[in-house]
């Protein structure tokens, strides 16, 4: 049971060859690039969607922050598509691996913070102290703010990993419960199946929302620092 439960999270190999690179590169095929003035439905839909997301996310940034727009849009498309593809049966989701999420979160966060320190040093340092704190509390508050700053990349990575992994595990467990209950009492199995369906709807939502949250937080860090 233990082996079965976590079997879907091991790094996939095909006959001893690690195909994880192919799995990460796969969602790229699903986003064709526009070739003509009037494209087919998939490309038009993708264009419309990306424009919607872009407008919603990048209006709050100034000129310097908008240079990050390509990075952020690629990020949200990648995380969203990988999460959604991971819901298919017997598939592997790269975003369940903490290593990959750390690899996404730490460079982006570090880039935002270092940009802030390079160009607006005083303002970035001023973020360590919220306005209107009473004077005796200042040393402790600076320490707390520093810790909170350094926890940001960890939180980003762990949040994404934990949400997706927990969702997959829950689906597996409730599916197992339904399986066992079919032979014991069928109505209970029906109820459990309905719970499973609801959970699936939640999973679809979570897949998209997590992508959004990740990208939004990175853009927030960017906004503070440009």
């Amino acid at each position: 049971m233990n082996e079965n439960l976590f079997a879907s999270f091991i790094t996939p190999t095909l006959m001893g060859l690690p195909i994880i690179i192919l799995i990460i590169a796969f969602p790229n095929i699903l986003f064709p690039s526009p070739n003509r003035l009037i494209n087919n439905r998939l490309v038009s839909f993708q264009q419309w969607l990306i424009q919607l997301v872009l407008k919603q996310m990048m209006t709050m940034h100034n000129l310097k922050g908008r240079t990050w727009s390509l990075m952020l849009i690629s990020l949200i498309m990648f995380i969203g598509s990988t999460n959604l593809l991971g819901l298919l049966p017997h598939s592997f989701t790269p975003t369940t691996q903490l290593s990959m999420n750390l690899g996404m979160a730490i460079p982006l966060w570090a880039g935002a913070v270092i940009t802030g320190f390079r160009h607006k040093t005083k303002a970035s340092l001023a973020h360590f102290l919220p306005q209107g704190t009473p004077i005796p509390l200042i040393p402790m508050l600076v320490i707390i703010e520093t810790i909170s700053l350094f926890i940001q990349p960890m939180a980003l990575a762990v949040r994404l990993t934990a949400n997706i992994t927990a969702g997959h595990l829950l689906m597996h467990l409730i599916g197992g419960a339904t399986l066992v209950l079919t032979s014991i009492s069928t109505p209970t199995a029906m109820i459990t199946f309905i719970i499973l369906v609801l959970l699936t709807v939640l999973e679809f939502a979570v897949a998209l929302i997590q992508a959004y949250v990740f990208t939004l937080l990175v853009s927030l860090y960017l906004h503070d620092n440009t």
Partner: protein, 195 residues
């Protein structure tokens, strides 16, 4: 006939029979094992099929609308450009037609100027006439005056000499005769109203 019906029914049901047979074979021989993942598969695939069947067509139409809007915008620009050029062509043609009729304008202007010249000429002629008449009238009135003066002078001279020539004797006789005439006339005048 009956065999044809049976055969056609069997033909349409062929693929479904194959599918059902395969699935039951895999399940019964445990080539495909029912795991917890089976139930997740059922729920995910079921959900996907439901959503696509329900909203697929409307999303397709929405995307077609997007493309239509793009084309319509470009088409509008093209039509506006064509219309603009057509308007320019018509304007040019109208201008050319006007140029053909310009000689009327020139004729009218020419006639106007000719009339103005005529009027000026006649005015000046009239002025000349008046001036000449003025001069001649002056000479005439001078002549008339001289004539009148001469006459008056002659009359005065004659009267003076006549008065001078009347002696005192002649004067008394003339006055007595006048009184006798007057008395006669007075008698006649008294007589008449009685009648």
């Amino acid at each position: 006939m009956l065999s044809r019906v049976v055969l056609s029914a069997a033909a349409t049901a062929g693929p479904y029979m194959l599918g059902t047979g395969l699935i039951l074979y895999f399940l019964s021989k445990e080539i495909y094992v029912i795991t917890p993942e089976t139930f997740s598969t059922i729920s995910i695939v079921g959900l996907l099929v439901y959503v696509i069947k329900k909203y697929g067509a409307s999303i397709g139409e929405f995307i077609d609308n997007l493309n239509e809007q793009k084309i319509a915008q470009l088409e509008e620009v093209k039509q506006a450009s064509i219309k603009q050029i057509q308007d320019a062509i018509e304007l040019e043609k109208a201008q050319q037609a006007l140029v053909q009729k310009r000689h009327y304008l020139f004729d009218v202007q020419r006639n106007n100027i000719a009339m103005a010249l005529e009027v000026t000429y006649r005015e000046r002629l009239h002025k000349v006439y008046k001036e000449v008449k003025n001069r001649l009238d002056y000479h005439i009135s001078v002549q008339n005056m001289m004539h009148r003066k001469e006459q008056e002078h002659m009359i005065n001279w004659v009267e003076k000499h006549v008065v001078q020539s009347i002696s005192a004797q002649q004067e008394k006789e003339t006055i007595a005769k006048c009184i006798a005439d007057l008395q006669l006339l007075a008698k006649k005048a008294q007589a008449q109203p009685v009648m």
